[in-house]
């Protein structure tokens, strides 16, 4: 088989461009015992990939120059040298931006083939983004019925699930998203109580009006101006799970002053806030609980999801650049 893959050609300074990537072709290797040959059906595009392109301290090693871009995938088994997988099986994998891959069968997760939900949900609402939403909101944020929850990037794969779970838990839920169309989707299709456009010059005032009892829980995906608008409206004992900071990923230097970090700490002190960074992989022991609960909600129609599908590996780079600019509504996927 000829495999096409996208490798990291150079590290971006600021926004990634096409020049930071390179398409390569190679013949797939033969199978050793315990390995399988996978054909990618769907590739997940996610904001965290921006971090892997940079060579700095983080929770994961960066992608090496010349190496295949990382990413979650749903794949079909084409050949198998492992007794537990057969050709035709569909599995969740982490084979990255490529059309084929030879990997150990161990560690692959069969995607339930009950036919009720498309296999692509294993990369979205029932996959890493859904687990991120479920664990960050419930395990770290600990929402209580009647509380007010604000969700950044509310139209995205994670934010859309966060807000709907918070509604199930009996909270008032206010989303923040980019533009009137996304906001309409968040309220009308996802059932949030309100959604504000982060581009509005009066965001802070609108947020005060949308949260008359203040904010008890802020699910942070964005940072920057959205964080600045939310922080003064946090209630005593508020929780801020920090899941992402997409507004900062392309930053090449610290924002200009004044320095708001000490004001942030003073607010944390006087309001007794709890700010907790997290990464979905920290919560993997809870995976089965998440699957059971979330798939139940999706089947019952209590959690809705949307997918934005890019067609083919040739369009993956444009899809990713668009994702970082907020071009997507719902989960962004490449269909191979």
């Amino acid at each position: 088989m000829t495999n096409r893959r996208i490798v990291l050609a150079s590290r971006p300074v600021g926004e990634p461009t096409h020049e930071n990537f390179r398409m390569e072709s190679e013949e797939t290797a033969g199978l050793c015992e315990g390995q399988v040959l996978l054909k990618t059906l769907y590739l997940s595009l996610d904001p965290y990939m921006r971090g892997r392109m940079t060579d700095g301290p983080s929770y994961a090693a960066p992608v090496g120059i010349g190496k295949t871009m990382v990413g979650g995938t749903v794949c079909e088994v084409v050949e198998s040298a492992d007794p537990n997988l057969q050709p035709g099986d569909v599995v969740g994998a982490f084979t990255g931006w490529q059309e084929f891959a030879v990997v150990p069968a161990k560690g692959l997760r069969k995607v339930p083939g009950d036919g009720k939900l498309p296999v692509s949900t294993a990369l979205g609402v029932l996959g890493m983004p859904g687990m991120t939403a479920w664990s960050g909101l419930l395990l770290l944020g600990q929402p209580k019925a009647g509380e007010t929850v604000v969700v950044a990037a509310a139209a995205g794969a994670v934010g859309s699930a966060v807000g709907q779970i918070a509604k199930i838990k009996g909270c008032r839920v206010v989303g923040i998203a980019g533009g009137p169309e996304k906001c309409a989707h968040v309220v009308n299709d996802l059932g949030f109580d309100a959604c504000l456009d982060h581009r509005s010059p009066t965001l802070a005032t609108e947020l005060g009006a949308a949260c008359p009892k203040g904010i008890d829980l802020y699910f942070e995906n964005v940072g920057g101006k959205v964080f600045e608008a939310v922080l003064p409206r946090m209630n005593d004992f508020g929780r801020i799970p920090v899941c992402g900071l997409i507004s900062q990923y392309n930053a090449t230097e610290l924002p200009s002053g004044p320095d708001r970090s000490q004001k942030l700490l003073l607010t944390v002190l006087t309001k007794r806030l709890r700010i907790s960074g997290f990464i979905v992989s920290d919560f993997m022991p809870h995976w089965a609980d998440f699957q059971r609960e979330m798939s139940g909600w999706v089947r019952e129609g209590r959690i809705h999801y949307r997918e934005q599908v890019v067609d083919g590996l040739d369009n993956a780079i444009d899809g990713f650049i668009g994702l970082l600019k907020g071009a997507n509504t719902g989960k962004m996927l490449v269909k191979m």
Copy 2:
């Protein structure tokens, strides 16, 4: 009785000065049923009092202009119109910067009169500062044996207790304090493994050397440059209980840029840090546990404390201004 008291004359801009205070005299009122007349033995001076002088949003209402400065006290009962207290009883109270006070007996706490520990400890190691250290470190910080704990303001009433409790729990403990004398006290008398001078121009480098395994828990009393030195050295899953930010209390404007708040959040995210503000009053249900454990440690000689005593109400203002500048070692008290 003639009562002398210090009232708030005006709100400070920046560092408090004598002009912000005024001494007044008045006759004490007669007792109604359930009230007692208290004579102050000791007044506690604490950094939080700076916050009460300012009219801004905080966890407690500010002291009104013309009102007595607030503060914890140890008092002797002079007259009683309540069956539960007799003249001569010694109680913990919150009667503020004055020599006498008429207050309800309800809510006063008898100071154990076993003669083994001076009554002033009810304002220090066995009082609010000790409880702050115990609850912030153990309940929020959750130190584990073998971890590295860094304590800001390590020679102060709270920091000195934090570090000693962390040693009892089997941690490596590094203090940060102002000047070589305080640092020597912290290491030689209190038993910390090391103590660094926050005035050193090479604090960040010294901190790296003193914490070769990184920092798992930072007990924040200071903010500013000390926080900046600590943050990059935090380990994954590190905890930062925010108890105080004394370097910022006199600030009249935000520090100049760049804005480090987003960098702070990025560090929280990638290292999965937990930053939690707290106030000792939030933990009052644990008071009896604290008293039992801490008084045991003090009696066994495992926790040492030092008091810095100012003589008489006339010197309270200078004592407080000095406290904000770090002039004290250990608990600062006014002996009436």
